[in-house]
Amino acid sequence: MNVLMPQLGETVAEGTVANWHKKVGDSVIADEIICDIETDKVSMEIPSPGAGVITKILVPAGTTVEVGTVLAVIESGASASAGAAATKSAAPAPQPPAAATEAPPPSWYAAMPPAMSEAKEQYTPQASTSSAAPTQLAVASTGGPQAAARDTHQRLSPAVRRLAAEHRLDLAAVSGSGRNGRITRRNVVEFIQTRQTTAQAAAPVAPVVAHAPTAAASAPAAPTAAAPTPATRAPIPGPAPASAPAQLGTSVPFTRIRRLTAEHMVRSKVTSPHVLQAVEVDFQRVDQVRKTVRDAWKAKHGYSLTYLPFIGNAVCRALLDYPHLNSSVQGDALLLHPQVNLAIAVDLGAEGLVAPVIKAAEKLSVAQLADAIADIAQRSRANRLKPDDFAGGTYTLSNSGTFGTLITAPIINQPQVAILSTDGVRKKPVVIETSEGDAIAIRPVGVLAQSFDHRAVDGAYSAAFLDRVRKLLETSHWVIDV
């Protein structure tokens, strides 16, 4: 049996062994005094809990130990078994108390029992939905790598609101690192600091392929040097760290649209290994048709008939024969879409890019397509597009040619696998073959450049598609029903 340091006062935690009346090997009877202890100015004699022989004395006189510590061990019965006299001065670990003595006051930080549940009374964050808010952007992800869930309930704390008001911030431009995307006070403070230090934004984490026109527009049949990057989901780069060093120049903070565009462009490039292929198209026949109907068309429809509906029509017809370019990558498979929902990129200027969709465009004539394009363009500018207008696109036309550019390497509108840029159409000398031999003619020529997702198709497939598009544009017998 163990002799323990008792608790002599309710709030007493320690005691000192003053002296031992017995030594190892001594016999004792029940209640015989074996030692004196002192705790906080109270002295007490400790009786033996029973009859036996003292086999160990673990705490020497003069030592202070915690309440509950084993001071000595008594072996009951007559045998005087040789117990090693432990004369170590270090206090042994406290043992569980014998029946009579009180447990010592708890050590607060030891393993704690389960706390009382106060779920009702404690703060619990709102359960929030994680669906991304529908955006107005063409390249907004309609699938693919999930964006960090936006705080759709826009829980702006008082501190956030006040700072935004004081600094005239558009909170749409601030991304939130709090729970469920909440914009925290720190996010706003850092945003303001970044603005104030006029630091250049630090390079985003994910690799970004330069979105620049390539001079050498050769469209090799083989895959290009843009080696396929693995479809890893790199993290979306966060806001620039506030500690970026001050630099020259003016900092223009991203608007919400700009920021969302940036994020989606990066995500698209990271998802799809982009390959650029281009063809030059002779728009002579298209021009002739356009010229023929120009005035009547303008009078009736109120807008000019451009190249775009012709290109769109050719693309839709070509996609019927090259369906893999009208698809989406889903894991290890390609989902071929049953119809061509043609997304038309519209530049709204400060409002950014949008890409409303013309559903089942393959069923539309050039004239119908022209009307559909005009309609969505107009509604885009009037901000009357509905979420449904953005849903379900399967291929995108990006009309970059307003300013007469030569070629553009567009970024795929996820989760599609290809996008076609139509650049400037301008008169150029071309070589034509006649029965009299080669001659030079002046023709309206424009480059159609397709970025395709090399996961879905290879260069030959894409090239054949482009060739088909070109042939359709150059040789179709266009009949326009004004």
């Binding site: 006062g9 309710e10 709030t11 007493v12 935690a13 320690e14 906080d40 100015k41 009180e102 447990a103 006051p105 708890p106 607060w108 930080y109 704690m112 029992p113 389960p114 706390a115 009382m116 106060e118 009374e121 404690q122 703060y123 619990t124 964050p125 704390s157 008082p158 501190a159 956030v160 609101r161 006040r162 709090g178 729970r179 909440r182 925290t184 006070r185 720190r186």
Partner: protein, 325 residues
């Protein structure tokens, strides 16, 4: 600088003031010969004699009433009420008489008295001997209320309480009596009404009192090491007068407030502070104000039950983590 236990700091504070002012007297049950049931007044009878250190019968109304009468007429009595739960036995004298008499008499009466008591839980005394009753007193205008967490503050604030011309309820936490801490040598007085920022952080401000202060500190450690959350910890120390400015200043820095209260849920001091912060610092708050408290139930006697009821570092950590995003 000396290392004293919390209980020895009480005796040291008493002795310091009794040496200084012959009008300081001590009365209560078992305070003289026995040195107090919590051994917090050991040595005072020996040093100052039976005229100044007096054992009383079990008569809380008579004891506290006598202190009031003596304080009205030139003495500076310190009452040892033993268990703060016993305030319920003499609450008339405290709430109706002591708290109001100066006001009712248009300032004629001054009551420089101190009522010390052992407050709070953690020692398995059961529901009637473990309450945190400082909030009872906080609802009565005219009483100053302090509750130190560390021995240095015990001595310094007890000295200030005794020197105060107004009635002060001095709450000692009974489970802290054996804890040790640094106490400065020489005359030591800490002005009442000053909170103490004992840990500076950036993410959340935790305000705690008495026994909850070491637990809040432990929680702050855990938050830092395990969750990268850097917490400010304020030892409130004084409920009336309340150091509102320190609280507001520190919460403004982090935007988040958590109070840790040993009292049962309703109407604790944390509710008052929450209200003040919500009203005066609304536009600096980055999240709701959270109170960690004992649930609104009497305290149980068994080890594990009482431990589960009082806020512990784990529960403080969990509450902070829910709040800090």
């Amino acid at each position: 600088m000396a290392q004293l236990t919390y209980r020895d700091a009480v005796a040291a504070g008493m002795a310091q003031e009794m040496r200084r002012d012959p009008n300081v007297v001590l009365l209560g049950e078992d305070v003289a010969a026995a040195g107090g049931v919590f051994k917090a007044t050991v040595g005072l009878l020996d040093e100052f004699g039976a005229k100044r250190v007096k054992d009383t019968p079990i008569s809380e109304q008579a004891i506290v009433g006598a202190a009031m009468g003596a304080a009205m007429t030139g003495l500076r009595p310190v009452v040892d009420l033993m268990f703060s739960d016993f305030f319920a036995v003499c609450w008339d004298i405290v709430a109706n008489q002591i708290a109001k008499t100066r006001y009712m008499t248009d300032g004629q009466v001054t009551l420089p008295l101190v009522i010390r008591s052992a407050n709070g839980a953690g020692s398995r005394f059961g529901a009637q001997h473990s309450q945190s009753v400082e909030n009872w007193a906080m609802t009565i205008p005219g009483l100053k209320i302090v509750a130190p967490a560390f021995p240095g503050d015990v001595k310094g604030m007890l000295a200030a309480a005794i020197r105060d011309e107004d009635p002060v309820l001095f709450f000692e936490q009974k489970s802290l009596y054996a804890t040790k801490g640094e106490v400065p040598d020489g005359e030591h007085v800490i002005e009442l009404g000053k909170a103490n920022v004992i840990r500076e952080g950036t993410d959340v401000t935790i305000v705690a009192l008495a026994l909850m202060v070491p637990r809040a500190l432990k929680a702050a450690e855990m938050l830092q090491e395990q969750h990268g959350i850097n917490a400010t910890v304020i030892d409130l120390r004084s409920l009336v007068p309340l150091d509102t400015q320190t609280i507001l200043r520190e919460v403004a820095k982090t935007g988040r407030l958590v109070t840790v209260e040993e009292n049962p849920r309703l109407c604790g001091w944390g509710a008052e502070i929450s209200s003040i912060v919500a009203e005066e610092l609304f536009w600096d708050l980055d999240g709701p104000i959270v109170r960690v408290t004992t649930p609104h139930i009497p305290l149980a006697a068994a080890n594990n039950l009482e431990d589960a009821q009082l806020p512990n570092p784990e529960r403080i950590v969990a509450s902070v983590r829910q709040l800090v995003d």
